[in-house]
Each structure stands twice: as C-alpha cells, then as structure tokens.
C-alpha cells in the first residue's frame, strides 16, 4: 500500500513540476530578459512542490 501511495505522490509531483516548467518556458519565451528571475522562482516553486511529494513518499514508506 505504501508503495502505491509513494507512486501516486510522485505522479502528483510530476504533474506539478511539469506545469511549472511549461509555464516558465512560456514566460521566458515572452520575456527573455527576465530569464534569471523566472528561473530562480521556477526552481523555488518546483522545490516546494517536490517537498509536498516527498512528504507523501516518506509517509507512504513509513505506513508500509
């Protein structure tokens, strides 16, 4: 059961990080001069999404 939960958590994080990445690409294409600002915030947001996923994975592993 825990492994299934971990997989679902990874799925959610994949969707989240994918959305962040695609929107960041669009934003960079629109405003190439803001690339460093967009990149920084993209990594920051991706880290937050990933944090939520890792909670799910760790809890899933603990629940066995």
């Amino acid at each position: 059961m825990g492994a299934i939960g971990a997989g679902i958590a990874a799925l959610g994080a994949g969707l989240g990080v994918g959305l962040i990445g695609s929107r960041a690409m669009e934003a960079i294409a629109r405003q190439p001069e803001a690339v460093s600002l967009i990149q920084r915030n993209m990594i920051l947001t991706a880290a937050l999404v990933e944090g939520a996923a890792l909670f799910g994975i760790v809890v899933g592993m603990l629940a066995k």
Partner: protein, 430 residues
Amino acid sequence: MNFRYALIFTASLFISAFSLQAQDHGSSHDQDHSALSHEEHGDHEGSCCGQEEHSTEYDPVSTVMHHIADANEFHIWKDVHMPLPCILYAPGQGWSFFMSSKFHHGTLALDGYVLNHGRVNRVADPSFPKGEQHIDGVCHEARMVLDAKGAETEKDFYFVCLDGKPYQLDPPSTLDGGVLGGGLTSFYDFSITKNVFAMILASILLILVFSAVRKGYARNEGKAPSGIQSFFEPFFLFVKDEVTLPMIGEKHYERFQPFIMTLFFFILFCNLLGLIPFFPGSANITGNLGVTLTLAVFAFIITNINGNKDYWEHIFWMPGIPAWVKFILTPIEILSVFIKPFALMIRLFANISAGHIIILSLIGLIFVFGQNGENIGGVFAGGIVGGLFTAFMNLIELLVAFLQAFIFAILTASYIGAAVEEHHHEEAHH
C-alpha cells in the same frame, strides 16, 4: 567570522553524533523468509540460533539499505575496514571507549556490545557475560508485534548466539520517538561513525579551501582574483546575487551572508563527498535524517530569533483581514513555522537518499541479472545496462547535489527574508 563557522560545524558534528539517524539497519527489511516461517510454527524466542543463516542469495533491498545506513566501521575494500572510535553509554554500565577493530569484524562481543551489520548493538540481558567473548554469530528473525495502535506489524529482531544460546540485541537509541521504528533502548551511541567521520572530513576540506581563498582575498585586494580564489568567486557572487540579496533584501542580507554561505557550501561538499563511490567518500551524509535535522534546526533558530515585530504579528494576528478569519489563520501560521524547517529536513534527506538508492539499485542489477554469478551473460548484460544507467544517474546526482544545496540555501534565505522584512503601514491594508 571564522569563529562562527567553527561553532556551526562543531555543533552540527556533535548533534549528529548523537545517533539521530533513523536508518540504522534495524529498519532495513531483511527478507529472511526462512526465519519468518520458522517463527510461524510457534517456536520460542531467538530460535534462529544454530540455523544456517549465511545464504549466498543476493538480497537487493537489504544490501541497498545497508549501504545507505550509517556504520561504526568504514568498509574500504573486501576485508579491509577502517576502525572508528566507539563511544557508548549504557545507563547502569557507564561509558565504554574502544576502537571498532576490537570487535574483529563482529566475531567478538565486548562488555555486551556486538557489531551487527556494521552497527554496534547491545545485549540488554544482564546474564550475558562481560568482557571479551567469542560469539557464534548474529541471527535475524522477523516477528509480528502489536504496535501502538493495536495493529500487527512485522518487526525485525536480532539475536547474538553465544554457546548456542540466543540473546536479544538492542539497536542504538534514536530520537524519533518510535515514528521511524527507533526509540530509546538500553544504550546510547555517541561514536564517531562513518557519517560523522565523513562530515569531519568535509569540514576540514572546507576550512582548508576557504582559508586559501581568504588568503587570496587578502593578497589580491583591489586586484583580479587568482588561483583557487578565482574558482570560488563565481560561487560567492552566485550566492549573493541569486540567493541572499533578492530573498533577504538590500538592508539585511550582509548579516546573514555567512550563515547562508556556510549552509550552501557545507551541504554541497557533503553531497559531493557522498557521490564518490570509494573511500573516503561514499558516506550518505546529507541522506541522514540526523544531519538534515541539525541543519534545519539551525535554520529554524536563526529565522525565529531574527523575527521582528511584523513577523510575529503576521503569525499571531494577521493585520487587514476580518477577525473570524484570524481564528482560522493563526493556527495555520503557527504550524507553518514548524512545517517549513521540517520540509527542509525531509527534502534534503529524501533527495539524497533517493539518489543513493537508485545508484545502488542499478549496480545491484549486475547481481540480479547474473543470478549470483551463475549466469555470466546476465552479468555482462547487467554490467552494461547498470553501468550506463549508473553513469547517467551520477551525472544527474551531480546536478542534484548543487540543486539541493541551492534550494536549502534559497529557502532558508526566503524564510529569513520574511522574518526580517519591514512592512510599511499603508501596505498592511491589502
């Protein structure tokens, strides 16, 4: 400034030495089905003694877990181990100091302490003879126990066999309160373990590199950087321009620059040392909950002691919103004060551990495909597939090593930035 670095390092080394690590081998799942089925037939405690336990079967899960776990000796090559000092305390027995080489690779018991899969365990039974004892070996048994919620879960038990009699082994105490399968046991392990050794090494490396850089700055004042200084200057500028300046703000960032830089470079060096697959690397330092907990506690303390009036006001009584919303928001804000460092801890631990697990699993493909050396073609196939994927994963892990150090630093900086930010009163209305 140097004093502050030294303080942070020594403090983190000490706290980590308290064996907070939750991944001691006790939580690894030895898939010992023979012992389990034996138990199901209703045998009494420690019946695994005398059974032939040394199967040559390759067990991927326990091998991987053993490699990412901490150890009381540093395994270098085949039978070569680097001995590390053991500092153990058991209530009632007092302190014990010796080198891990005195265990003779787990064939001796010393004052009730036994080396079990690289970790020191203790026999809690007072009838176990003290002093040096030749032991027959350590055996393992999985049993169903009732947990706190009354549900049956499988738990691993280890026994040391002395003259055919089994004695139950206690793993070292951990501070997880039973959440991760640990808890307080009959002894405490303050040893310089493999992780602590690698962390001391990373700290020494940092001190050597950065005193050379400091000398460079003193020598080349007002001139272009030279030597190792010019290698590190882009990193310093990166931390300043991308992390502290935008996150903390022009007015306060210089105060926190040393702390953020220390975090960044310490995590970076530990991550990179952990990626080296042979001695003196290979220790899973930042993939250890004790280490990341220490770093997160520092971030938590420094954020909150620097919090100004506005910061606390926004936590306890958010201005500019209706009163009934405040009753919902205040508990959430108070929780988030603790969740933020907790997320920092889990993020670094899980990322680095996951990377190590993936690389070790790919290496394990060689043994899985090769069926313990019986299938030579499988060994080649596993070697090629596993080797190529390992090389690929190592490159990704190199990126992750930088990225996680950066993320830890930038998130800490943003928390500090939120704590020291000065709000103008006209802004408080929206």
